[in-house]
C-alpha cells in the first residue's frame, strides 16, 4: 500500500516490458488503436474471412475428382492476374497470414500471462483450435493435387503411421496412381473444408466469455492488410508445381515453410521426434493455465441495498461476468446485479460504472452498489480526502492503471499518485470531487487503445471523460484542469511529460486567477 492507502503497483516482468516496447515502436507508425501487434487477434479473424471468401470461389471451380482436381486449379495459374488467379493466390497468402497472426496473438497473450483464472476458458478453447488450423491448412495442399500436394499427403500419412493407431499404413494410399480414388478426394475435401467449419464453430466458443468480441480489425488496418496481400498476389502469384505422379518423388519443391514446416522437420529428424515435439508443445500450452499461480484477485461484490439495477455494470463488464436478476428488495428497483465469480476479472470497471460510486454522497462510509474488496471506492475517497485535507494540500491528483505505466513514478510533494485496478475503476465523479475539494488538476492515465489489460477499460474511460458514455464526467468540469493520457508499461516518460503540462497549466490558471482578483481597498 502507498502512504495514502492506495494499492501499490506491481513491477512488470521482463518479457512484458520487452513486448510492450515492441508494441510502442509500432505505435509510432500505426497508432495504438491500429497497431498490428495489439490487433493480432482481429487480424487473424480478417485472414479467416479472406480465406472463406477466396475458398468459396476456389471450391466453385475445383473438380473434386482425383483425375480432374489438378487441372481445375492449375488452370487458374495460367492467368495469375485474373480474378480466379488472384483468389487462388489470396487463399494461400491469407492462410500464411492467418498462421502468423494466430501465432502472434498466442504469443502476446502468453507473454502477458493471460491464461489463468477467468481467462482459462478462452486460452484453452483457443489452444484447442490450433490442431484444427494445422489440419485444415495442410489439407488444403492435397486438394490441389500437384507435386507439393503429393509430397504433403504422403508425408502426413507417413507421420500418422508412426502412431500405433491403424492396422494398415495410411501411406499405402499413396503407393500408386490407382490407389488415389475419388473417394479419397472426398476425404480430402472433408479434411480441408469440414475441419475449417469446425474451426469457425470453435472460434465461437473462444470468444464466448468476452463481451463485444472484435472479429474485424479497424478499417484502416483491414484495408492496409488486404492491400498488402493483394499486392503480394500480383507480384508473386501462387502456381501449381506440376501434376502429382506417385511413381516419382517430388525431389525439389518450392516449399511453404509457414504451413508445411512439419514435413521437412520430420524427414530431417524422425516421425517420433516430431510427434514428441508437437504433442509436447501442445501439452505445455494446455498445461499453462494449471501451473500454480498467485492467488487470484478478489472479485466484485454487489451490495443489494445500494444496487438499483441500472445495468451499467452489466453494459461495461468486459467478461460477461454480470447478470441481472429480480431484486430481492422490491423498493430498491426491478433488478439486482449478480457477479459470476468464475468469470470476474477483478478489474473494477463495474465499480467505476456504478452511479452509487459517486464520492459526493454524504454517507460517512461510501458503499457502492458493486465494488472491489481490495480497493473499494470508500478507500479511494478517503485517499483523496486525506491528500486534499492535509495541512499542506496536494494540488494534483494522478489516477492510473496498475497494468499501465507506473503511476507511482509521479508521486511528489505536490502530486498524489493513485494506482487503480484499471483506469475505468475510477468513477468520473471522483475527478469533479477532487477539483471541488481543492485539487488544481487531475491526471488520468490509462493503457493505450487496444492495450488494456481488461480489454475495454481504456475505451470506457475515454468515453466517460468525453461525455459519450455513462457515467459522464459532467460538462461543467473545466477540461483544462483534467488531463487524460495513455501510457503503457515502460512509458513513464509520457506520464512525466503529461504531469509537466498539467503543472504548467495549473500555474498559468493560478496566475490568471490572481490577476482577476479585485485589488484590496486602500
Amino acid at each position: 500500500m502507498t502512504d495514502h492507502g492506495a494499492p501499490a503497483q506491481r513491477a512488470p516482468r521482463g518479457a512484458v516490458l520487452w513486448w510492450s516496447r515492441l508494441e510502442q515502436r509500432l505505435d509510432r507508425a500505426f497508432g495504438a488503436s491500429r497497431n498490428p501487434l495489439r490487433q493480432s487477434g482481429t487480424l487473424a479473424f480478417l485472414a479467416l474471412w479472406l480465406l472463406a471468401v477466396s475458398g468459396v470461389w476456389l471450391y466453385a471451380v475445383l473438380d473434386t475428382s482425383a483425375a480432374g482436381a489438378y487441372a481445375s486449379i492449375a488452370r487458374l495459374s495460367y492467368a495469375p492476374w485474373s480474378a480466379g488467379g488472384l483468389m487462388r493466390s489470396l487463399h494461400r497468402y491469407a492462410a500464411d497470414a492467418f498462421v502468423v497472426f494466430t501465432a502472434l496473438h498466442l504469443l502476446r497473450e502468453a507473454v502477458h500471462g493471460r491464461f489463468k483464472h477467468f481467462r482459462r476458458f478462452s486460452w484453452l478453447t483457443g489452444c484447442a483450435l490450433l490442431p484444427l488450423v494445422a489440419v485444415s491448412a495442410v489439407g488444403g495442399f492435397w486438394l490441389n493435387w500437384d507435386r507439393l500436394g503429393q509430397f504433403s499427403a504422403t508425408a502426413t500419412a507417413e507421420w500418422l503411421d508412426a502412431l500405433p493407431l491403424l492396422a494398415q499404413p495410411l501411406a499405402r494410399n499413396f503407393l500408386g496412381a490407382a490407389a488415389v480414388s475419388d473417394r479419397l478426394f472426398s476425404l480430402f475435401v472433408f479434411v480441408h473444408l469440414g475441419v475449417a467449419l469446425l474451426l469457425v464453430f470453435g472460434l465461437w466458443f473462444h470468444v464466448q466469455r468476452i463481451t463485444r468480441a472484435a472479429v474485424f480489425p479497424p478499417r484502416a488496418l483491414a484495408v492496409g492488410t488486404l492491400a498488402t496481400l493483394l499486392g503480394l498476389c500480383v507480384l508473386a502469384p501462387v502456381a501449381s508445381q506440376g501434376r502429382a505422379d506417385l511413381g516419382v518423388v517430388p525431389a525439389l519443391l518450392s516449399m511453404d515453410w509457414i504451413l508445411l514446416f512439419v514435413h521437412p522437420l520430420m524427414y530431417a529428424t524422425s516421425a517420433g521426434f516430431t510427434w514428441t515435439l508437437t504433442l509436447g508443445a501442445f501439452g505445455a500450452l494446455l498445461a499453462l493455465p494449471f501451473v500454480p499461480a498467485p492467488v487470484r484477485a478478489p472479485v466484485a461484490v454487489v451490495d443489494p441495498h445500494n444496487c438499483n439495477g441500472c445495468g451499467r455494470c452489466l453494459a461495461d463488464c468486459p467478461y460477461a461476468a454480470i447478470t441481472m436478476v429480480p431484486h430481492p428488495l422490491p423498493q430498491r428497483g426491478a433488478e439486482l446485479a449478480v457477479v459470476d465469480a468464475d468469470l470476474c476479472a477483478g478489474c473494477g470497471i463495474c465499480a467505476g460504472a456504478c452511479p452509487s460510486s459517486t464520492p459526493f454522497r454524504s454517507t460517512a462510509r461510501l458503499v457502492s452498489g458493486i465494488d472491489m474488496p481490495q480497493f473499494p471506492v470508500d478507500a479511494l475517497r478517503r485517499t483523496v480526502q486525506r491528500a486534499l485535507r492535509s495541512p499542506e494540500p496536494v494540488p494534483i491528483i494522478a489516477f492510473g492503471c496498475e497494468h499501465a505505466a507506473d503511476i507511482s513514478c509521479l508521486a511528489a510533494a505536490d502530486v498524489l499518485a493513485v494506482p487503480l485496478l484499471c483506469t475505468a475503476q475510477l468513477p468520473p465523479s471522483f475527478i469533479e470531487y477532487a477539483l471541488r475539494n481543492g485539487a488544481r488538476g487531475v491526471l488520468v492515465a490509462s493503457c493505450h487503445d487496444g492495450g488494456c489489460a481488461f480489454r475495454l477499460g481504456a475505451r470506457w474511460n475515454a468515453e466517460r471523460l468525453a461525455g459519450t458514455r455513462e457515467p459522464y464526467l459532467r460538462a461543467r468540469v473545466p477540461r483544462t484542469r483534467v488531463l487524460p493520457v495513455q501510457a503503457d508499461i515502460g512509458e513513464e516518460s509520457r506520464l512525466r511529460e503529461a504531469l509537466r503540462v498539467l503543472r504548467a497549466r495549473t500555474i498559468a490558471q493560478g496566475a490568471r486567477a490572481e490577476q482577476a482578483r479585485p485589488a484590496p481597498d486602500a
Binding site: 498490428p36 507417413e158 500408386g176 498488402t228 506417385l246 525431389a251
Partner: protein, 179 residues
Amino acid sequence: MPEPATPRSAARAVGPRAWFGQVLLYALFALAIGVFSHWPPYRHLGADEALIKLSLVHAGKPVGECRERTAEELAALPPNMRAPTVCPRERSPVTVELDIDGAPAARIEAPPSGLSGDGASAVYRRLTVRAGERSIAVRLRDDVRAEGFTHTLRRRVTLAPAQVLVIDFDAQSGGITLQ
C-alpha cells in the same frame, strides 16, 4: 503565459514518418509471407537418388493346424456351434528381408494385427538408394510352421533419379511384386 501542448496521443499516428513507417512495415510483412511461402526450396531427395518403398499388407498363415473335434467336445458345445473342425485364430508374423546389391538393407518382422493376433501384418519402410542399376532380393516368410522363406524374389532393376520402386505382396499375382 502560453498554454503548454498536451502530450501527443499515440492512439492515431499521423505525419509522413508514420506513413513511411506503415508502408515499410506492410512491405516487410509482405516480404516475410512472400519469401517463406516459397523459399528456400526444399530438396526431399538427392539429384541422383531413387526411393524404394517396401510396403505390404499380408495375413500370415495360422500358427497351428486345424483339427477335428472329438465327439465329447462337440457334445459340450451348444447345438448351433458344433463345427467339426477348429482352427487356431492367431496368425504367423510376416518376416521380410531386403537385400540391395547383395547387402542387407532391411529386415522386418511384422506381428499380426488385432487383439487376438488374427489380422494382417503390415510393413512400410522407405529406403533411399542411388539411382542406376540395382540388384534387388526380397525374401518373405509368413508361416511359422515352415522352414525358411515361403516367398522370394530376385531381380535387377534400373532406377531413374527420383523414381519410386514399390515392393509389395499380392498373393493373386504370385507373391512379391515390384511396381
